[in-house]
Symmetry: C2
Subunit: 218 residues, 2 copies
């Protein structure tokens, strides 16, 4: 990594402090919270769309969607059954930060929810540096992105608590060496829990849903 | 867009100034130069791999690859026939800038090349803000990323001179409304030249190759 100039260091320190405050707030309210990160188009919104109908009778769920522009994603989350769906437009910024999440949390009665899904801006670099204060960071990789992504975006792969490998239904149509991909993941984040699945076909969704359910009802 | 704080404004101004210097240098040496931008995994390196063998007997080509980490991409460009292939490791940075490009140009005898392909870091946000000084900016969209990307990453789609739509061989296996996608593109960047193609099957490559050839031999 580059040597950080002090102004960047200070911004990150201030962010970490606010992230800790967000975490305390979520923890006190009993809301299990997820920071979903991925490249553009890897399937963050699709995952939320597929997750909500499977859990909405068991958990009270809120979604917060971060985007450069539009409210397309929060509209989709609302349509899929989120009790509340809040859009953060970052105004050009390439990642969410703890201040933005705090602003969104202010709009929710947190004790009315069991699970909060936060969808970050599509980007494999910058979101890794800005903690939000959620309980778990989850990265969505995608088969058509290619098998070299852990090697090329190590910061993102290193820092997450769970890894989803989406679009496994496309495996027959692209070149993707699963062993090469998984060796890369293992070298950066040994033992990280992994969910291969397809938001399109539903294959593999059960394990992910069970993991969310177990964590949300602890 | 957010209001810029002065320090950011100054950084961008300084970058634009250096980009102009790079541009003058490339122009004087008679090198036609491309800044290739895309999400992670949309196919920047694959496009370079497919482009080089088709042009290497007609043009003298150099490649410069920007990455957070590894030299996987420049290795692939060299193997595909680039006369010179230079890796820029950005040390965590999420985009190339004009200073980084200048450092790479210093390593090349520019008058020995007709075409320079610069592969930016995989990111649909930050690279749009930092000009490099190349002649044309080219964005690679990818079918499995989904049809909503112009709406969600307008800054990137607005600023490019050409648009490649890669992985058209995957159209039968995913949901992608081409008309919705193209309406988004048209609203941001009316009349932008577009090349639908597949780096995997080679379909559509000819139009892209001809465009490069025409521009490089002007």
């Amino acid at each position: 990594m580059t040597q950080r100039i002090p102004v960047v260091e200070n911004i990150l320190n201030a962010n970490d402090h606010l992230a800790q405050e967000n975490h305390t707030r979520l923890e006190s309210a009993g809301v299990f919270s997820i920071n979903l990160m991925a490249s553009p188009g890897a399937g963050k919104t699709s995952l939320i769309e597929q997750t909500l109908p499977r859990l909405k009778d068991k958990l009270r769920i809120a979604a917060i969607d971060g985007d450069i522009a539009t409210s397309l994603d929060s509209d989709r989350a609302a349509a899929a059954g989120a009790l509340s769906s809040i859009q953060i437009n970052t105004g050009g910024n390439c990642h969410l930060d703890a201040v933005m999440l705090r602003g969104a949390l202010d709009q929710l009665q947190l004790n009315q929810y069991d699970l909060l899904l936060v969808e970050n801006v599509g980007n494999l670099v910058c979101p890794a540096e800005f903690k939000l204060g959620t309980h778990k960071s989850v990265l969505i990789a995608s088969i058509p992105e290619g098998d070299d992504k852990p090697y090329k975006y190590p910061g993102m792969y290193r820092g997450v608590d769970a890894l989803i490998i989406n679009k496994i239904d496309l495996l027959p149509y692209v070149s993707f060496r699963m062993d090469f991909f998984q060796r890369g993941v293992e070298s950066l984040n040994p033992g990280v829990i992994t969910f291969p699945l397809s938001c399109r076909t539903g294959e593999g969704m059960d394990a992910w849903i069970n993991w969310l359910l177990q964590n949300s009802t602890k």
